[in-house]
Amino acid sequence: MKATLAVLVENHPGVLSRVAGLFARRGFNIESLAVGPTDNPEISRMTIVVDGDERVIEQIKKQLNKLVDVIKVSFIEPENSVSRELVMIKVNTEPEKRSEIIGIAEIFRANIIDVSRDSMIIELTGDKDKVNAMEEILRPFGIKELVRTGIIAMNRGSKCIESPEQ
């Protein structure tokens, strides 16, 4: 079972290592982790995708809550949320394949952000399925390099995840 957690943390150095260390020493699996400041510069938000059974996921949430630097931990329900990931793919572009690759990028509504004689960087934003699908289609052309940001997610509607004191 996978779960997505939105974790509000104090924006100090060292917090990321506390969170990562917690996962490592308790044997929890991180699928993806993305972090950045929120509209309040004192608070950062992590989006963590974890894998485990129900008991493990409950423990992850409780153990995260025990960290003094962790302000709030919330689950993001897949049905009521949107999630996105940004990926950059540097793909081989032999001259005769170039237009085919451009066509694929268009279909995915991806952007071509760098072009050289024999490669291109494609930037794609989407949920995990879309990103995976694009990766599969580009693979036969020869992916030279790939980097993903990790998933970020937000609940739909007016419900918000905010620090209790805001």
Binding site: V9, E10, G14, G21, K62, L67, V68, V70
Partner: protein, 555 residues
Amino acid sequence: MRITAAEALVRSLEEEKVEVVFGYPGGAVLEIYDALFFNKKIKHVLTRSEQAAAHAASGYARVSGKVGVCIATSGPGATNLVTGIATAYMDSIPIVAITGQVPLSQIGGDMFQEVDITGATAPFTKHNYLVKNAGDIPRIVKEAFHIASTGRPGPVLIDLPRDVAREKIDFTYPEEVSLKGYKPTLQGHPLQIVKAVEAINSAKRPVILAGGGVISSGAHDELMRLAETADIPVTVSLMGIGSFPSEHPLFLGMAGTHGMPWANEALKKADLIIALGCRFNDRLTGGAGGFNKNTKIIHVDVDPAEIGKNVKVDIPIVGDIKNVLCELLKRIEKRSRKDWKDYLEGLKGEDVVEGCGDISPLDIIGELYKQTRGELIVTTDVGAHQMWTARCYKFKHPRSFITSGGLGTMGYGLPAAIGAKIANPNKQVIHITGDGSFQMNFAELATLRENDLSVKIILFNNRGLGLVKELQDIHCGGRYSQVHFGFLPDFVKLSESYGIKALRVESKKELEEAISTMLEEEGSFLLECILTMDVRVKSMLGKEEAYESHAGSLG
């Protein structure tokens, strides 16, 4: 007036009403020690290693109920603290550890005596700080004491770089803490309380399992009222010893792999377990060979992460045990559970130890009880002697049994006894140790003497590592690897060289007089008892399955 950050640190300790700190100086804490030099209110106890300073702070905390404080220099001083900090963490003991650090401007350069102590201790501190701004010192100290002592208590470390310690600041101590991410839940949820009351009132065979949380929340009186009102037998974990008087007719003794068979049987046969401030660790559940599926469990703990971690719980209650018990007691009905009690009473037997020579460990502990009647504080080390003490001494008061339960740290007991004696100078403090454990920290005899403290040491000398030898019997076909000491010092002379009187006994008939001599001695005293190497702990557990689980969890 502007003062240095080091002075501000010491002033902050004063603000926290710290009376004593345990520590060891070095280059990175020169400024702190200089500030202590001028301080008149805080006593500094110089231990003989930093590990001992942390254990002494822990012993002090456990007896006094206050936060214990220890100080060490950077690098090796800080790493020497690590065992003490981890020991305190596993037993949820509130201590604040202060370490020096190389100058902030040089951190990361592998400087002389640099070690990343906040990184190293993150897994076993409740929280830690690397101080980067001198002006933060008062706030950080305030937070550290608050975090260490509230909710589920635990150690907090403050790492102070030397250049920061020298900076000058305007000192004002904050009145309050404001931590967005730290708000322990202290009141039990009313609906859960109602469910628990119903379960307790309707149970046929309930049993209370009390852990260290009962002691740290000061809930022993409420525990007594619950047990007596609802007529419920009480068993304890190793850490729960002292939360309920051993001589009480409802007391079953310690449960778990090293516990009493009838206490484990009670947990197995119960239709309701009321677990208070214990964490169902492997040493406890192992003794019952897992619980019955139909047994309902109420689990009260201030740490939500403990609930449901090791066993499935039917009625979880997050909150301070004392608060929760007060709520429960408003609605608990009076009951008499004669059949259930009679059944358990019928299982009780005498404690026996096999393989003894002239002296059985039970003789020593029995005689000690006869002459002290629970009016003492006992600290122990780790090994067979610890288990005999836990099982057989009839403890009467909370905060009177001080042992390393969660980490099982050999060498804990003597420094812990130093802290205990300072916390409660009017009580007899007895340290029960083994020849192996004693050799890990006996340098603290000097600390005892230097501070004119009176601690009575009973050394169970079986010439080796008894508990490990027993494991090798069970797991290694009796191949005894490195568990016998080929050389031992003369412990009596060793003690005397520190100016501490000592006596050796080799037969049972000498015990009564020796123990009374020891107790009457004004200063410290060491009583060495000669045992055979073949005395075993396991003999309490008659049944094969219990034996199995016992074997499984000793490691």
